[in-house]
Symmetry: C2
Subunit: 557 residues, 2 copies
């Protein structure tokens, strides 16, 4: 869709623009504007897909706010997942003194992350039930249940109306920590009148309800009870309640626990310190000690549940881990979701472990995972509690947004008041009605190694071509006084063929072509390069039906 | 695992080696040897994964039989899917007169495929219940239900014993065509005594039973009944029964049908000709005519259910199809599985269609697909019918093989008689006991464009590096009499950065390095190239923390 400059925001209106997170799953960042001031909710990263090779992270696109950094009154973080906090250090580089508002655990994770970027964020700790004001934005926080402790939803009151943003949410009615999503609070807001409801769409296509997290415990117990050798449980490094259940089962079966993976060690350390993870004295052992324990008295809690190739679990599956070598009869549990796109990597790990003789338990063959996001049945509860006049589905791809919108309509929200707005689409809430008013540019901002932003679509498109077909380079030195080659051409390929003779024919063709350009008196190196590229490109297409990149270099002597 | 030359096969023994299909899903090909003669069951292709970029197809590795082509008595095809017949033309190139034995529909699909390779296979049509002998191999064929019509299992009798190979199988008890998997026949074989049972492992990890194919019809009916505009149903081009149900629903709702996609048109033409697909007169229209029909009187049956980027459906999702442009309110049904690894592509298509306003129905939100492979519950029925003395799980990755082996053991097969053998592992059936006797080399044979086999692991590994980080090339002409550069070095990158100044610093470093090598009297172009590679590699790692391929070309003048 083309960019259409949105009109000036009428006085008393509220403007909402997502700089990430709508039309995709990740890099959530929503900007609210009222009376010339800005409030940001979340600032996360997105992990790259196959068509974004070599990219480490994708950031929200800050362009729409980079001239207005001083107008931002606060950044609110709903919870501590990477797709909600991962890009904060990049925003703080632009505005180091920005107040960052969030719950205790969220801010502890953020502070640890910022430390790696050598930043000390200016944090403001809040709890459910609390009220805070930043500029014209009066905020109220609500407890929310999700796959990480201490998540919040935020209500934003301005003269334009009352907005409720769920963040990531589900409605586990028997949460492990007893901290329910505050549906009663949402209902109270509903009584007051919610003008705009931004709702997590991730599971909107999935019918029904999520099974309580606490039902995982007995399944883990059953698996680990039967294990006579080593047990390794992999899960997300921020899923404190999942790890808690693993620890409880370990205790029940007389196993001590070693944490494996940097983020697991770090996050569980923070969780234990804040009292969110209960660790009996002496339960944890370090890896060296764990390796000395009898096999039936140890359990490893590891990262790598998404098949990340450098993770400890992947290395174990390849038989390349420095300390832990998988034995036939070991038990490995992937107590985690399978994020779409990671299937090959995850099943690669499962197959590697199975090949070594391990028993591998995963969500495909046992109930060792539940989602952290409300599916359709729970979303209906949310809509009926909040009874919003306008709805804007967030956090999801188009298929999720459409499904969520349909759910809103099914509960009685006027179809005209359900706004599907992907990243960059400007939504204005004016006189109680939310509607699209324009669009700002929101592109992909890639982090590759130490640089942000210098890898763009053109570089990625080159990488895709190179990754599919490799390249053929032709280098030759030309005397530009007469267009004569002063050396035989060097033709070589990488990623093209294993056959050392594959390009022999091409050398002769290039030599013929160079004789021709010389005969025609062509001395311009660009024209010679073009001629060489054409002749090699045509030859390779006809001979091999392949499309390597053709890279001529003509050196002028 | 290392290759260990298997011992000579003792007289009276039967040897089994898979040249593809075990330890992976695809390129199924099993070689049976007895009394110096060979019988092959299936010869399919495997589709490449992310770590095999640019590859079109992967073939079974024929090396183990290429010196024994004349020993092959026959090739038996169990059914017409690509992973069972796709590599036949490549085998026929080596042995054009090889008898190819299969059912009518299987052979019709094979013949169409061979025509594209300008081959006319020597086919032998068989039906369930028939007996044939090839050399020492006495074959008996059994009806099998699968996601393609006319599938067969094959029993192989030799003096070494009775072997039963299921091919791909499921036990739909109410198949659309009434053609049940011949469990009664399998039981009769069981009474006779099955010495070795090769069993489809694809769904061994999945508990329970497959819902009958015919239950898809009412779901499709319900979706299409509600549609007021165009309907597009995408499914596999060989799934005749699925298409039959779509046609029946189209008839019921007064819609005419256009087939979209070359393989869909071809296969349904064959199926209709053989009486496997019942098409009422006048139901089919061509695409042009379909486009002129009122929107609620037309239905398209299309390929592209796996998100293939060049398919009609993907083009529609991107708004790039020449004839069909998706309108808000159109209905698209993906009546197909989601093959692991294709999730991003498929959901990309779903999101593209949802963004255009279409209603997209897929197996994630409606029961519009059932699998073609027996899950655990059905496999137990098979084991209990056949009561084999030895079992060899086939058709699956390690996780599937292990799960299938566990099922066999649970029905009473002696654990010592369950052989998990991946590709290349040699299994000998001697005196009623199957056991691993060695291993032959089975590698990946890649087809890329017109060539087979010249793309190998080294080319793929280069492609992976290039795809992740692009390359930086440095070209310079050197006077080899004194090691002096006769031109400034050309440093350029592709797939490295969008920033035109990204490599400016590197040029100066290369110039300094060339001065150094000259000063040290280095005139050898290889040593100069190494020096340049080192200095640029170090600079880029430190400055960018990236790993592009560094490609120096030193031209000797």
């Amino acid at each position: 869709m083309p960019t259409t400059t949105p009109p000036a925001l009428p006085e008393g209106g509220l403007r909402i623009v997502a700089l990430g997170g709508i039309g995709e799953v990740g890099r959530n960042m929503t900007v609210f504007e009222h009376a010339g001031r800005l409030l940001i909710v979340d600032c996360g990263v997105l992990f790259p897909e196959d068509d974004q090779p070599g990219v480490d992270l994708i950031l929200p696109d800050f362009r729409a706010i980079e001239d207005r950094l001083e107008d931002i009154d606060a950044l609110v973080l709903t919870h501590g997942h990477e797709d909600h906090i991962g890009a904060v250090p990049f925003l703080l580089k632009l505005r180091p003194d920005l107040p960052v508002v969030g719950s205790r655990f969220t801010l502890a994770l953020l502070t640890a992350k910022c430390r790696e970027h050598r930043q000390v964020p200016k944090v403001v700790e809040v709890k459910e039930g609390e009220l805070r004001s930043y500029g014209p934005f009066d905020l109220e926080f609500f407890a929310v249940n999700h796959s990480i402790p201490d998540a919040l939803a935020v209500a934003i009151r301005t003269p334009a109306g009352l907005v409720l943003h769920t963040g990531d949410i589900k409605l586990d009615q028997l949460p492990l920590d007893g901290r329910l999503t505050d549906l009663a609070g949402f209902s109270r807001l509903g009584d007051e009148g919610v003008d705009l409801f931004l709702v997590d769409s991730t599971n909107a296509e999935v019918p029904g309800f999520v099974v309580p997290e606490r039902e995982i415990g007995p399944v883990l117990d059953n698996v680990i009870r039967k294990a006579s050798q080593r047990v390794i449980v992999a899960c997300f490094a921020s899923h404190v309640h999942r790890v808690q259940q693993v620890l409880d089962v370990a205790v029940a079966h007389g196993r001590r626990v070693a944490l494996v993976g940097r983020s697991m060690v770090r996050n569980m350390g923070i969780a234990a310190e804040l009292g969110l993870l209960k660790v009996p004295n002496g339960l944890f052992v370090d890896l060296d000690e764990a390796m000395r324990l009898p096999e039936n008295q140890v359990l490893f809690v590891s990262t790598g549940s998404q098949g990340e190739p450098l993770s400890a679990l992947s290395r174990m599956a390849r038989g390349e881990h420095r300390q832990i070598s998988i034995q036939a009869g070991d038990t490995i549990v992937l107590a985690s979701s399978l994020i779409p796109g990671n299937e090959n990597a995850v099943f690669g790990v499962v197959n590697g472990l199975a090949r070594l003789g391990a028993t591998v338990v995963h969500q495909g063959n046992a109930k060792v995972h539940v989602s952290g996001h409300s599916p359709a049945g729970e979303l209906l509860f949310l809509y009926n509690a909040v009874r919003p006049s306008n709805v804007m589905p967030v956090h999801g791809e188009w298929r999720h947004l459409r499904a969520n919108a349909a759910l809103a309509v099914s509960t009685g929200v006027d179809e005209e008041h359900v706004v599907i707005a992907e990243d960059g689409v400007v939504v204005d809430l004016i006189d109680g009605k939310a509607a699209v008013s324009g669009r700002v540019v929101v592109g992909h901002v890639y982090v590759d190694g130490l640089s942000v932003g210098d890898v763009g679509e053109s570089t990625l498109s080159d990488r895709l071509v190179l990754g599919e077909g490799g390249f053929i380079s032709i280098s030759v030195a030309i005397d530009t006084s007469n267009g004569r080659a002063v050396s035989p051409p060097t033709v070589s390929g990488r990623g093209f063929s294993d056959d050392p003779k594959a390009l022999d024919q091409a050398v002769a063709l290039v030599e013929m072509e160079l004789s021709r350009t010389e005969a025609e008196g062509i001395t311009d190196t660009h024209r010679i390069a073009q001629a060489v590229r054409r002749v090699v490109g045509r030859w390779v297409a006809e001979t091999y039906r392949r499309r390597p990149m053709i890279v001529p270099t003509i050196i002028a002597i």
